[in-house]
Amino acid sequence: MPHHLSTLLRDGTGQKWGRGSRGRFAEMPVPRGAVVFVHGFRGNAIETWFDFPFRLPKEQKAADYDLLFYGYDSREQAPYSARSLNLFLRAVAEDPARQIVNPSLAAGLQKRPDTFRYDHIVIAAHSLGAVVSRLALLGAVSPQRDPLPWLSKVRLVLFAPAHAGAPAVKLASLVFMGLPVGSALEALARKRYKSIDDLDPAGQTIPQLRTDIQQFLASAPANVADCHRAWVTHGSADWVVKAGQYLQDNQFLPMNGAGHFEVCKPTQKDHRPLDFLLGVLP
């Protein structure tokens, strides 16, 4: 098989990346790219994406991609999670062998040379993960505030993105296993899960994100700005986020019948999420 078994992701000092982040590394010595999966609100590094960890390695097109499932704590504010993801993405782009791959591989497996770099970095994000990913990319700047050159290697693939926001009452209900909540429970959920306020369409984070991306698209070199021209899919049965065109993203792919959580889960019967991602891999 073209990928090793899944393993926890560790940095050069042996510390774990993110929250339960795991990877399936390509067996080939020098793969072309990495797919970084970023889950959504109350999601989980791996479980949000089932069956991607199983079905993607079986695809020839994915054989020379490392699959990195990044985990974070969605109780935290989105900008906080984005900063952590930003550090991870910098390691993926700038020093993957020493900062991710080699410290995570089992003893005895072939290590990558220190000079190894990916040609392509595909970020696949779901729901809140889209906001966290976009913020992380906006934070990839030099000390002079210039976008970092490796952004030109990035493609953004979004499943039911919440970059236009999501109603707090709906997010609060997710905390309570999808059951309806009243205002008191909504307030409790907002207190515990700080990221709910970040997704308020009328709050601070969502409007500012839109403004910042607009400025980025206008000022960054064309090949770098492409990282914010995302490929997007929405499910018709989604009750958490609304489908719609966002800035200069590609027109979204409608996924008929899919709900907010099914849209990022390929199954034996429904390959659409898998085909969508494969279609974007360079």
Binding site: M1, T7, G20, A106, F176, G178, L179, P180, Y193
Partner: protein, 356 residues
């Protein structure tokens, strides 16, 4: 390094490095070999102290490692001779009388028994034919099983399910905490870093473990259904989690249903406008029905037989016949034709019952 060695190294890494539980058990084994009968006693003989539960847990990780290696062998993912170092270690640990009593008598699990036979030269045949499909299914199983196996939260919930207690909390406290959404939120959203000792209180851990467990069940069921082509492998995958699934059937299945039912009662919350929530509520109902159905099917025992029969065929030893009796399920739960997938009308009637 051979292909088999490299592959075994990846499984070893998961249980000895990603989570060091198996390494801890091996250290305890090396220090106490021949004197482990007290630590590895049945909990009904003498109650288990909090400290002892952690040491015993590490043995569970070690058994999980041997079990996963056995599943890999049956999938054809590990083929050829296992490395000598592994064979020697497995023979020593799994053949120890105190250890054997723990996994054969006190808490019977079949995969370590099957693996002991394998390292003694009497392994089950994998019978997967062309192995590619089975290998991919094994890789899926490995990924699916890692979070639940290495999660301390799930372990706490399963320990409570087994009748254990920790820090003064048990399964009844877990169900009580699920009864109101406010206590549910308090425990479900608790984080280790919220506490001075950076450890989740056992009750919070149990609630979070319960949630992981019910979300895990439909995925395991789906994978088992996709593995129907390979009955022995399918059964081995079931047995990897089988002890707990069997416990649910024999003792505590009703507790899990009670817990899910406690959550359903939240439907009657003041302040929501029901007409705007119809789709959402229906979706939640379907999810919980799927979870209940998965738990019911997984705990029915229908997936247990192939491995039991394989081991019986391997050896008709009296000791093993006694082991197999531990895996009898009640007549109602076990269908007459265990390897067939349930007929549609059976599934429908289960769903209807669960939805009602």
């Amino acid at each position: 390094m051979s292909d088999t060695s490299e592959r075994l190294a990846q499984i070893h890494h998961a249980y000895f490095e990603d989570d060091d539980g198996a390494a801890r058990a091996l250290k305890i084994f090396e220090s106490w070999q021949g004197a482990l009968s007290k630590l590895l006693r049945h909990h009904r003989t003498e109650s288990i102290s909090d400290n002892e539960t952690w040491e015993r847990d590490s043995f569970d990780y070690l058994f999980a490692y041997f079990s996963m290696v056995e599943v890999a062998c049956l999938a054809g993912w590990l083929s050829g001779e296992l490395p000598t170092a592994h064979v020697e270690m497995a023979t020593r640990v799994l053949g120890d009388e105190d250890v054997k009593r723990y996994y054969e008598d006190h808490y019977p699990i079949l995969l370590p028994q099957a693996h002991r036979r394998r390292v003694e030269g009497q392994g089950l045949e994998s019978n997967v034919g062309a192995p590619d499909g089975a290998e991919a299914l094994f890789e899926h199983f490995f990924t699916l099983s890692q979070p639940i196996e290495t999660g301390a939260e799930v372990e706490t919930f399963l320990w409570f399910l087994d009748g254990g207690s920790r820090g003064g909390a048990d399964i009844n406290d877990t169900i009580e905490a699920l009864r109101t959404p406010t206590s549910f939120l308090e425990h479900a959203s608790a984080r280790p870093e919220d506490f001075a000792d950076e450890t989740l209180p056992p009750l919070s851990a149990s609630i979070q473990g319960f949630l992981s467990f019910v979300e895990f069940a439909p995925r395991l069921l789906q994978l088992l259904q996709e593995t129907a082509e390979f009955p022995m492998l399918q059964s081995a995958m079931w047995h990897y989690h089988g002890y707990w699934l069997q416990q649910m059937n024999q003792h505590m299945g009703s507790e899990v249903r009670r817990a899910l039912t406690a959550i359903e009662r939240w439907d009657f919350l003041p302040g929501h406008e029901s007409d705007t929530w119809v789709t959402q509520v229906e979706e939640g109902d379907i999810t919980r029905a799927k979870q209940k159905r998965a738990l019911a099917q997984l705990s029915s025992g229908r997936y247990s037989y192939a491995l039991v029969e394989g081991l019986l065929a391997l050896s008709a030893r009296t000791t093993f016949l006694s082991d197999s009796r531990q895996f009898n399920f009640d007549e109602e739960a076990a269908p007459a034709v265990p390897q067939d997938e349930p007929a549609e009308d059976l599934v429908r009637s289960e769903d209807e019952e669960l939805m009602s």
